[in-house]
Amino acid sequence: MVTVKASNLSKRYTRMLFRDMSFSVATGQSLAIAGPNGSGKSTLLKIIAGVMTPDSGNVAYWYNDKPVDTAYIRNYIGFAAPYINVYKYLTALENITFAIGTVDDDAVQLLDVLGLSPHSNTMLMFYSTGMIQRVKLALAFLKKASVLCLDEPGSNLDEQGKRVLFSLLEKVQPTTAIFIATNDAHELNFCKRSIVLD
Amino acid sequence: MIVILLNGIVMMLSLYLIYIWVPPAAILGETSRIVYLHVPLAWVSCLAFAVAGIASLSFLKKSKINYIVYARSSAHIGLFFSILTVITGSLWAKVMWGSYWNWDPRETSITLLLLLYIAYFSLQQIVSGNPKAPMLESVYLIIAFVASPFLIFVAPRLYPTLHPEPVINAQGQLMLDTEMRLVLAISLVSFTLLYYILLGLWVRIYVLKSKLHEE
């Protein structure tokens, strides 16, 4: 059981992106972050994932009601985003080995579901953008993390890919806290709650 | 204000002492008077570098932007002083050793310090505007700061030098009379005060500039 508590987050770049933002999301819940381009969706997601520090405020992780040290937050997070590229000189399986450690049965199965099995030993530089997006999603789900941060998970996916994405989301939702930064109506609908940045 | 006044008085005093009061050194003659300028300049160059390094370290620890302002200002002053050190040193070298540049270990170390400052400012120019600029600058400065003892003290001693002893020590032997030591000490104090005042001014300029930018 994980709870992500954000309190009084503020961040400014060239302009104020958000100020005094607080929310709390626990296992089994989901939060959508919406807003126009440049409104700070990705920034907020990075702050939630602990890879960026806010100007003020903080994000605290609680695992079974015990606080998690910031140095270990990484272990609780699966993260897929357009700005997190996978290694194009490695194959899908090698990317998984690098990120997760091993390729187990779940990994093989997931690659199969995502339709990547025939190409799992091909370097990603020969993949299409849609296939690379599937690899990124596979990596995020395979980590079996308690918190899932997805930035525009449906981008570059075809209809079948999106169906797979939602079935995967439905499957992990009961055991996972999900954050999705998106403007896609379908993905917004999936989340029970949402924040709109402006 | 009081510091500026005090520094003015000490400066005047040291000028009087350097040019009128103190007798010329035995072998070096009248040219020895440059030592009272050259050594304090070199001292401030090193001091400014150390202050910049320590300010960068404090920035990493407390991540307050003020420290970066101090580091940058100190480095600016240090660059200026190390250029002056090289100029006064090579003038003196021309008179004493016959040529402007001799690759004496001390000369080499001050040049390296100058190179470090130049590298630091190139980095600063390139990263300006980058949100990571303060971090990158301070990390570089700390690395340089850690490497500098090797630069200034260790390396020159490891290989055969032009001179039996570093310049300052050689001078120390010549300046056995207390008068000269006293003048050098006063001059050092006055230049350190000057550095302190300049640092304050520079920091204020930075702060005002960044305020102007915000408006």
Binding site: Y83, V86 | I126, Y140, V146, A147
Partner: protein
């Protein structure tokens, strides 16, 4: 920790071998420069000091191509965050450091072999020479790996890394050149103090870099 380190190194080695940048550019750079110096001088250089200086300049500039490359690759392909969300920054630093060490030693060994082959130089203290080359190239890697990261994060390929690295590595450079020169002379000497200097230099800078790296390798 060891496992994580190994996975990072394995990944980097695979990528480097497949992209062939280090292999093709860096190694051929050192070969071409060495051969062209032999070509230009007709293979005759009389001063041991000059031999040593040329040797280290070749090693330094070959190193300049590779030492920051491992970081530039991550930044340019935006894979840096991929590494950061799976591994602590220090693991990434150590893996890059180890790779740089290996590449530098390979470069140094290769350069000396070609150098001795194309330029007539008499090596009187072969084992000392190898020891100094290894110690020197290791400390080059230790001293400049974090500077490579700085250059990569500053987004300036090309000159910046050399400008930043040169003043920092100059002390090790001078010591390495001085002691390498002695290897080309007949006189007996002990390279121990030089090697200790080089290793101490790399230990100190390596330790500081280890502590500093997590401050810059984040927030992508």
């Amino acid at each position: 920790m060891i496992k994580a380190l190994w996975r990072n190194i394995q990944k980097d080695i695979l990528i480097e071998f497949r992209s062939r940048i280090i292999v093709s550019i860096v190694l051929s750079f050192s070969v071409i420069v060495t051969i062209s110096i032999g070509f230009a001088t007709g293979g005759i250089i009389n001063s041991p000091l000059l031999h040593a200086a040329i040797l280290w300049i070749i090693i330094f500039f070959s190193g300049m191509n590779t030492l920051s490359h491992v970081f530039f690759r991550e930044i340019e392909e935006s894979t840096a965050l991929f590494g950061v969300i799976h591994y602590p920054a220090v693991v990434i630093y150590l893996s890059k450091l180890l790779i740089n060490c290996c590449v530098m030693v390979v470069i140094a060994i290769m350069v000396i072999i070609i150098y001795v082959f194309v330029i007539s130089v008499s090596v009187y203290h072969g084992i000392y020479l190898i020891a100094i080359l290894i110690a020197g190239s290791l400390s080059l890697a230790f001293a400049t790996t974090v500077i490579g990261a700085i250059a990569a994060l500053a987004g300036a390929r090309g000159g910046l890394f050399t400008i930043l690295a040169f003043p920092v590595v100059l002390p090790l450079f001078t010591v390495a050149i001085q002691s390498t020169a002695r290897c080309f002379e007949q006189q007996v000497f002990s390279p121990l103090s030089a090697i200790i200097f080089l290793l101490a230099f790399s230990m100190v800078l390596g330790m500081v870099s280890y502590l500093l790296f997590p401050y810059i390798w984040r927030e992508f």
